[in-house]
């Protein structure tokens, strides 16, 4: 009997442990987040996705960062200067320390950039720093980049082969965050799961597939001291489950499920707590200019006229802005543009007739197998059917889809989006439409020497306003050629609990959750108290 009782108790304890959603915490001042997917990596050289960047931003420090308005401000750098020819950049560092106590030196930033440049690191950010003097000579045996000079105790100099107006944005990317070389070498491949940085938070525990738990970095001396006792991010929580957890007060920040969006937006209880921003993203249908019938510009233009973008915006419950071109409307200092392709099925039919497709044609739209993408694709199918274009859908897993569209001439049309790394039109136009990018990011195989010339002129130009004019003219030529169907720019909508103060969304970076505060007042609101992170034994 005794042994049975013991067994029962053991089973109960085990059951309680398994039900526990997160780690032990005795503080209400822990910000609770959740997401479906695991964070791919916390190695700044390897991460190139929203989830990785959100937490790298908390653990590591870059020389520069963006404020809420999107202007560059110093993070690890106290001051900085660029030479008149934009080939030399100097950064004076402020004192700071890694989370294991050692002071940050200029050499730690130099090491991080050299590590990104090493081919063996396989960093997706390598291209950003290839303009540094000697960076292209970097190989697996030696990476002594003469373009990076670290002068102890606090001066860091970058020298470039050619002028680069965007270099300051590039050092604000997490790829260039300071790394403690001795720890990176010691931990090797495990550094990505057990990182050490000089940001306001440090890793406390990361259980794969369960949760990630950050705590304040006790040595942090920067301008954004940690305001939270911790940040807990659960993994494997889908949109619907996250929504239910939020309603029951177990989460502090969540997205809003499509089906509940209109009801939530109209509810006065939630209205004050919704945060929204139009992101620097463009959703589009790429038309392969080397594949018939899309080799004919008139067909591509016809598809643009045949697409009801406002209907797509309604389908997304208004969570998007209809696109008039490639570049999103909220890009700082970029000119406004008028719509070139209004919804006009009649004009589309005329163009199709002129191109010799009066009876329409059949083709296949490739896309990611994702509920929202499928919904958008079915709306497009409806629109195009009205002008006689029969489109089959080919939904694929994300990796397979990306591989397919990179293969020249294989995919006639595809549904995809692009998000800017930094706020500059060249990050859309040069990366996606220059002919040298065919086989890399120019999946539509669009080639226009006039556009190439304008983009190259913009890259050489040192005057910001003249540069924008070159980019604007290039975009106008691209819109005229219509290698894309310009669909919309998605807006992000996030709901936060009333106890969360100071939450801000950023147009091109994940939300800066490390800067929020938790304000608890007695008796109100009720949900945070009932939702204290439960400890490991499920108490």
């Amino acid at each position: 009997m005794r042994s049975r009782l013991f067994l029962l108790c053991t089973l109960l304890v085990l059951a309680c442990r398994q039900q526990s959603p997160g780690p032990a915490s005795d503080s209400d001042h822990v910000l609770r987040l959740a997401d479906q997917d695991e964070i791919p990596t916390l190695d700044p050289a390897r991460g190139y996705d929203t989830a990785s960047w959100q937490f790298e931003d908390l653990i590591f420090e870059t020389l520069l960062d963006y404020d809420d308005k999107g202007d560059l401000v110093g993070e690890a750098a106290e001051s900085w200067s660029a030479s008149a020819d934009f080939r030399e950049f100097r950064f004076m560092l402020r004192p700071s320390r890694f989370s294991h106590g050692r002071s940050v030196r200029p050499g730690d930033f130099a090491y991080a950039v050299r590590r990104v440049l090493l081919p063996s690191t396989q960093s997706p950010g390598r291209d950003f720093y290839l303009g540094l003097l000697g960076a292209r000579e970097c190989d697996s045996t030696a990476c002594d980049v003469p373009g990076i000079e670290a002068r102890e105790p606090d001066l860091l100099i970058f020298r470039l082969e050619t002028p680069d107006l965007l270099f300051l944005h590039k050092v604000a990317l997490p790829f260039a965050a300071a790394l403690p070389e001795e720890i990176v070498r010691e931990r090797g491949a495990t550094f990505s799961r057990n990182p050490t940085g000089s940001g306001p938070y440090r890793l406390r525990e990361w259980r794969a597939g369960q949760y990630l738990w950050l705590e304040p970095n006790p040595y942090y001396e920067g301008a954004q001291p940690p305001s939270l006792a911790g940040i807990l991010r659960q993994t494997g929580v889908g949109e619907e489950l996250a929504w239910m957890q939020f309603l029951s007060g177990q989460l502090d920040v969540t997205g809003i499920p499509t089906a509940d969006f209109l009801h939530v937006r109209g509810d006065p209880r939630w209205r004050e707590r919704i945060h929204t921003i139009t992101t620097l993203r463009t959703q589009y249908v790429g038309l392969n200019c080397s594949v018939p019938p899309f080799h004919d510009r008139r067909v591509r233009q016809a598809l643009n006229y045949a697409t009801d973008k406002e209907k797509l915006v309604r389908l997304l419950n208004g969570r998007a802005v209809a696109a008039v071109g490639v570049v999103p409307p909220n890009l700082p200092s970029y000119p406004e543009r008028a719509p070139v392709y209004p919804y006009d099925p009649h004009r589309a039919e005329q163009l199709l007739r002129a191109a010799g497709y009066a009876a329409g044609f059949e083709t296949t739209l490739w896309l990611r197998n994702d509920p929202t993408a499928m919904r958008i694709a079915q709306s497009l199918q409806q629109d195009w059917l009205r002008v006689g274009i029969h489109v089959k859908l080919r939904p694929l897993a994300w990796g397979v889809f990306l591989e397919a569209i990179r293969e020249p001439g294989r995919v006639p049309m595809f549904l995809l989006g692009w998000e800017a790394d930094f706020p500059d039109a060249s990050n859309f136009l040069d990366v996606l439409f220059h002919s040298r990018q065919v086989g890399a990011n120019n999946h539509t195989e669009y080639r226009n020497p006039a556009v190439d010339a304008l983009l190259e002129a913009a890259a050489r130009e040192l005057s910001a306003s003249a540069r924008i004019q070159f980019l604007y003219r290039a975009e106008q030529a691209i819109i005229e050629d219509a290698p894309w169907i310009f669909l919309f720019h998605p807006s992000t909508f996030v709901l936060v609990q009333s106890r969360v103060a100071g939450f801000r969304l950023h147009p091109w970076r994940p939300p800066r959750v490390g800067r929020v505060r938790i304000e608890i007042t007695n008796g109100h609101p009720p949900e945070p108290h009932s939702a204290r992170p439960r400890n490991a034994s499920g108490r």
Partner: protein, 272 residues
């Protein structure tokens, strides 16, 4: 000789099937609504069931009734075709293995067991990754694995029949194997085959719905019950009718086939 009681289960199943086929054939014509195009301006906000749209509309403004009916035609056509494939292969293999025994039996049955061990879902995902999802691919997937239970059941039945006196007598007077199989054994399998057909059809419907649910079924915009269920997941609280009606239609169809199978199984059991 005693007349057996009227088989109410079978009659109910057949009545449900006939009703379903009639509705799926006639109603779309009568309803006269395109299941692919919007019938309302309410995009992004499904309309609840009402007089004009008895099953409501979906987030793309399409009539749910029209979609369920067309999906029914597609699903029933796939289920019936898949059943024909499964019966064709399964009965053939079962007949040969059960009648000839020996190495023929060993060869066919081991092959059947190998196929039974292949996980259906993994096979479907692999095939869908290699080929474009289409009704033919669905038929190939269901047919590739659906015949194995038929083959096993038929083999067991044939092994019992081949030892019966009428088969021994036929063999004694010099009847050929072909004649024995065609004239003596196959007609005695009729009731079993009909029962197996009904069971296979109901399984095929469920497999079709399952594969469509995970996006491996008939590609959109052609509606299918499984994909309608899958697409309505997001709206299960805000618009439950999007899940309710296709779910009910699928359950009705599966129940009809199961009742027929159950009804057909009874006379067979009584005779035994």
């Amino acid at each position: 000789m005693r007349r057996s009681a009227p088989n109410r289960t079978l009659a109910t199943g057949i009545a449900m099937l006939v009703l379903m086929l009639a509705v799926a054939t006639i109603a779309p014509v009568w309803l006269n609504r395109d299941p692919l195009l919007p019938v309302t301006d309410a995009i992004g906000e499904p309309l609840a069931p009402q007089r004009t749209f008895p099953c409501g509309t979906d987030e793309l403004g399409r009539d749910v009734c029209a979609r369920i009916l067309v999906a029914g035609q597609v699903s029933l056509a796939i289920a019936i075709s898949a059943t024909a494939i499964c019966l064709g292969v399964g009965v053939g293999v079962g007949l040969l293995a059960g009648y000839f025994g020996g190495w023929v039996d060993t060869l066919f049955m081991r092959f059947t067991e190998v196929l039974l061990a292949v996980p259906m879902l993994l096979l479907a995902i692999t095939l869908a990754a290699l080929f474009e999802p289409s009704p033919y691919l669905l038929l190939a997937v269901i047919g590739a694995v659906g015949w194995t239970p038929v083959a096993r059941a038929v083999r067991a039945e044939v092994r019992s029949l081949r030892a019966r006196e009428f088969v021994v007598a036929a063999r004694a007077i010099g009847a050929t194997n072909r004649r024995i199989l065609g004239k003596h054994i196959l007609p005695n399998l009729r009731a079993s085959i009909l029962g197996l057909a009904a069971v296979t059809a109901s399984h095929s419907l469920l497999i079709d719905a399952g594969l469509s649910f995970i996006g491996l079924g008939v590609p959109p915009p052609v509606p299918s019950w499984g994909r309608m269920l899958s697409e309505s997941q997001t709206y299960y609280r805000a618009a439950p009718w999007l899940m309710l009606f296709p779910g009910a239609a699928l359950s009705f169809a599966v129940l009809a086939f199961q009742l027929i199978a159950s009804g057909l199984g009874r006379p067979f059991a009584e005779r035994q």
